[in-house]
Amino acid sequence: MLRVAFLIPLLPLAGFVILLLSGRKLGNPLAGWLATIMVAASFVVTVVVFAGLFRLPAGGRSYTQNWFTWISAGHLHVNMGLLVDPLSMTMAAFVTGVSALIHLYSIGYMEHDEDFPKFFLYLNLFVAAMLLLVLANNFLLLFLGWEGVGVCSYFLIGFWFERDTASSAAKKAMIFNRIGDAAFLVALFLIYERTGSLDYHTVFSHLGSVGEPSLVAMGVLLFAGAVGKSAQIPLYPWLADAMEGPTPVSALIHAATMVTAGVYLMCRINPILYRAPDAAHVIAIIGAVTALLGATIACAQNDIKKILAYSTISQLGYMFLAAGIGAYDAAIFLMLTHAFYKALLFLGAGSVIHAMNDDQDVKTMGALARLMPITAVTFFIGWLSIGGLPVFSGFWSKGDVLLNGYGFSPALWVVGALTAVLTAYYLGRAYLLVFRGQQRWVEARKPGDRAGLKPHDPSWVMSVPLIVLGALSAVGGLINLPIHPDLDFLDRWLSPVFASRLFQHHWGLGGVWTFALIDAALALLGVALAVALWGHASERPAFEPVVLQRAWYIDWAYDRFIARPSTEVAIETSSVVEAKGIDGAVNGFAWLVRSTARHLRKVQTGYVRNYALGLAGGLVLVLAYVLTRAS
Amino acid sequence: MGSLDSYLPIFFMVVLGIAFASLSFGASKLLAPQRPTSAKEAPYECGIVPTHEPARRFPVRFYLVAMIFVVVDIEVIFLFPWAVDSQSLGRFGLVEILVFAASVFVPFIYLVANGALDWGPIKRVRPVESQPDRTSSSTVRHVGPPNDQAA
């Protein structure tokens, strides 16, 4: 059953190829259905392979499928191959599953778009690249997928490229990611240089002979790559701007899957981090700070998608916090549940935006609960999940992270706890402003804009994913319950991959319950704050300080201190250094070459005897040289 | 230098020959009267004024046959070593030489079939096919480019 693993990335890729060749002919909605079916089929195959892997004994759950030697140059041999192990299959399962749902949703969401087939073409390519990233058996192939998802992200953020904001957001994402990717590449060189391979198994088995400074460098450089892709400090600002893309894209790429690739990478390289604790600490600290920062910014945003974007940054920080302290299973657990509820929230936001005629300002919404019951209920579930209310999935996964965080250092726990309160609060604010209170959209601020607006729940293709994701968000915690050792399925399933854990703290059942109670209290505090402050009001300037609205002025600082000066330097360089110095040198060299050529070609006279003379001259030179060597 | 002893007679012969020739030329230069006329300067000083240049170009067929002859002639080189030791070379040698002969013979068939060895009036082996697109101007091009006449 494991042999069919190659189909997992190949099916979406086939979808991409088909759409590339005949997407226009298939048209709307056939192209969307084809893409959805391809991803769904991939999900089915994943489940089959998953089951096959599950039947193996726990120690032997690793299967490498080599396709062919991709590159063979000198000592560098890179095989094109897949690694099927619990970690990669968990990732593949949730990637294909969530992707299939979001594809389905997109059929409805993109219904009226002219470039309907192109959207699904990119989406399928994205899924193929993401699966390659997840299933790769070596760093280079992972990097290929890594770049593939980056490119798709770029295309999809700029999908509505006729909007200036969209195309500049795409550029911004590209540039921030490039910075991280550069570090990633250096890390690859370093790994190859130190271990002589890029294959996971070989690399990890050679780590013993690598010095700690190199290991720390590898860890930090790979983390720098992850920081770019997963929007952590300092490379996070692109994610907020990436919301210019269609909402399903935000849900799929910029919440559920691509941005979690960095976390996946950290989990994958756990043997490196195990030997480089300093690197791991950097990861944990950056993760914690990002979590808090993202949460604070989210408190003051008015754009519903921006709220969710900063929330995503914050949640990703949480995951890095977990990965940094060695709680990889907690990180993956949070990643899974986050994928469910954040995709749910984004899709819910999408329905709301659809209903509000593409307006995203929460301040102009309100009282939609009765008009859009399905959306409201599912969004509500999403709020409770991310807020960490007991029983909902977020409660278990966030609790897992906080538990491990406390065991590592109480300081981390404090930051995490504060973030947890804020998380419950800002999403409560969003929920209350959108679905409760007054129908502020009736008194249209922009006349004519809202005339005859009748918000309603979307069609079934968009509702079904909401309901499914809502259900998963509610009960997703079941896959890893810490309350009894027999119920933490995910931990045990993943344990062969995370054999080398930096830190492990075992709490008794009593400890677990204590922490659960505290978590619940924190979540309730956040919910209570939200209800108290935003239950009946829509404007509270004291709680939306400008500094948070402007996201701590960090974007402004980037623009002021990096973007503008470097633009100045670039303009200066192009007008002075490039035009006069480099261009001059290049043109001068070209002139030199051409005038040399003009003289040299005269030697080629066309007379046979001249050619023979050249030959004989060469002969004489050769013999003259030979005579100097003769003894 | 002793090894050159055997060449001494040849050396003397060469010296004698050169001496004789230069002596005769020198004598005629010194003794004969020098009164050149245009008739005397012309080649073939036999009294008859040459009416036309001798034919410089032989028919192409002449070269062709000469070339074919050279090839076949040279191939015989390989027959001699075999013939000298055909006994000890045995069956292996015989087979090899037959293969060799056959591969020389096959191109010979080609030559014969293409009329390379036909002397006299040209006999066409292949019937001339009618070529509707062939006009007098295209035929001229077949013989040579028009600007050739100027050269």
Binding site: S72, T596 | S88, G90
Partner: protein, 526 residues
């Protein structure tokens, strides 16, 4: 007679399977030659082309059979040690077979278009192919010489095949006279090496050199130098290259492509074997020489290619530049360098066949439409053909994801490993210069106008240059008279051949594994 009497004659053991590809080609050529004469009817050109292709395919199969043999049993020699059957030889047997198959498809359309009847073209091509194969397999200097001539003589005739164009005849005469001159030098070199070492057999020479300390090596080194001149001529290394542009331009275009691929394959096969394997002991003596030759070859080819207007002539200089790259691998004198060179030859042969196939098509009836202007806007008129040509040119440039990139990478890496940094730098520099004329052609096809600031004439990286209108391009973009820019007819066989070359270039550029592994088989060197 005294001499003969002391020798008893031992008949050599002949392993006919080992030389089967060559035998197939020669026998097939003879059969093709008489087949038309035995049947008293006109045989269409296509028959000969298919026959030639089939014979080459049979040779390919035979080569693969031997390959299987060698993998199982290891390399061996036969016919009194004069033919080596090793991985190195077989790589070239396979390459030559592939060249022949592709070339017969390309030639077919040319012969039909130009109305050249008869089997002669294909017969000559097959014979030349057998010569190239023998050059790769030869283990004896005399056999190398004979093979060299078997390869060269048909190529002389092929160059002069197109009797309607006077350039063709001129090319043939030049190629022939200079070729004969270089052959004479080569033979004299063999004679000197024979005198110094007492044998013409390569392994015997090698073992003689390994076991004896030669006190007076003047004759030996002189012989080696003369051999280098002979090989240098065949592979068009500077300063023995001067025939190359004229012959490439004058010869019928498909013959040019074939000649380039074949002469490079055969010439380099023998050159690499003789210098690296046999005279490896003397490498300190010949390495500086090759170093110098490689440098001038690289630079001259790249520089002179820039100012050509005739595409065939431009590619002739490009082929000189490529020869320089292959010599870089040999100058490194390491097994890595040799692998690099072999890979380069393989890749280049395929690239150049495809390129000349496109040029054949664009050349049009009469084979005279080879001005750069004939390619202006080809990308708009015939996007597929132009795209294929662009890929082949990019492959020759050495753009990543084409086979050409890895080929350049291998030889330059080998040079760096051998600490000849200057050579590596000059090789890269020459690649950059050469890129200018490949890309100029690409830009021309796609009508890309370069920014005005970068110089007057289109595509070339240069400042405006006054005078001499025949170099560079007319910036006004008008098509000069006499250049036909009509639609190019693309017959199916040529289309297939071009597709195959492009596919090889791109597929093995992205996925180099198999081809590299195969070429690494050249390590089984005797």
């Amino acid at each position: 007679m005294k001499l003969l009497a002391v020798l008893t004659i031992v008949t050599p053991h002949v392993n006919y399977v080992a030389i089967l590809p060559e035998l197939i080609l020669i026998g097939g050529a003879l059969l093709l030659l008489v087949s038309g004469q035995l049947v008293f009817a006109k045989i269409p050109t296509a028959f000969y082309s298919i026959g030639s292709g089939a014979i080459a395919a049979a040779a390919l199969v035979a080569s693969l059979v031997i390959w299987h043999d060698v993998q199982a049993r290891g390399p061996f020699t036969t016919i009194a040690d004069s033919v080596a059957v090793d991985g190195f030889a077989i790589v070239f047997l396979v390459l030559v077979s592939c060249i022949l198959i592709l070339a017969s498809a390309i030639a077919n359309d040319f012969l039909v278009r130009e109305g050249i009847d008869g089997p002669e073209y294909h017969v000559l091509a097959l014979l030349a192919g057998s010569g190239a194969m023998l050059m790769a397999a030869a283990n004896d200097l005399i056999l190398i010489f004979v093979a060299l001539e078997i390869m060269s003589i048909p190529l002389y005739i092929l160059a002069g095949m197109d009797s309607r164009r006077r350039e063709s005849g001129e090319a043939a005469i030049k190629y022939f006279v200079l070729g004969a001159f270089s052959s004479a030098i080569f033979v004299y070199g063999i004679a000197l090496v024979y005198g110094a070492t007492g044998s013409t057999n390569l392994p015997q020479i090698a073992s003689y050199l390994n076991t004896n300390i030669i006190t007076s090596n003047g004759v030996l080194l002189a012989g080696l130098g003369l051999l280098l001149v002979g090989f240098g001529f065949k592979v068009s290394a500077v300063p023995f290259h001067m025939w190359t542009p004229d012959v490439y331009q004058g010869a019928p275009t498909p013959a040019t492509g074939f000649m380039t691929a074949l002469a490079k394959a055969g010439g380099f096969a023998a050159l690499l074997r003789v210098f690296f394997s046999t005279f490896g002991v003397l490498r300190t003596d010949w390495q500086p020489l090759l170093w110098a030759i490689a440098i001038v070859t690289l630079l001259l080819g790249a520089i002179l290619g820039l100012v050509q207007r005739d595409v065939k002539r431009m590619l002739a200089y490009s082929s000189i530049n490529h020869a320089g790259f292959i010599l870089v691998g040999l100058a490194a004198a390491t097994s890595q360098g040799i692998s690099g060179s072999v890979y380069y030859v393989f890749v280049y042969a395929i690239l150049v066949l495809g390129s000349f196939a496109v040029i054949t098509l664009v050349g049009g009836k009469g084979d005279e439409n080879h001005d750069l202007d004939a390619y202006r806007g080809l990308g708009r008129r015939q996007p597929v053909l132009a795209f294929a040509f662009a890929l082949l040119l990019l492959g020759q440039t050495g753009i990543p994801l084409t086979t050409g990139f890895l080929a350049k990478l291998y030889v330059i890496t080998a040079a760096v490993r051998a600490h000849s940094y200057a050579l590596a730098v000059i090789a890269m520099l020459s690649a950059a210069i050469a890129a200018a004329f490949y890309l100029r052609l690409v830009f021309l096809m796609y009508g890309v106008k370069l920014p005005v600031g970068s110089g007057g004439d289109e595509g070339a990286l240069s400042l405006p240059v006054t005078g001499e209108p025949d170099d560079g391009l007319d910036p006004t973009g008008s098509v000069p008279t006499g250049v036909n820019i009509g639609r190019v007819v693309v017959p199916v066989p040529t289309a297939v051949a071009i597709f195959v070359t492009v596919a090889v270039t791109v597929v093995f550029g992205i996925w180099p594994g198999p081809l590299v592994d195969f070429v690494h088989a050249a390590h089984f060197l005797f």
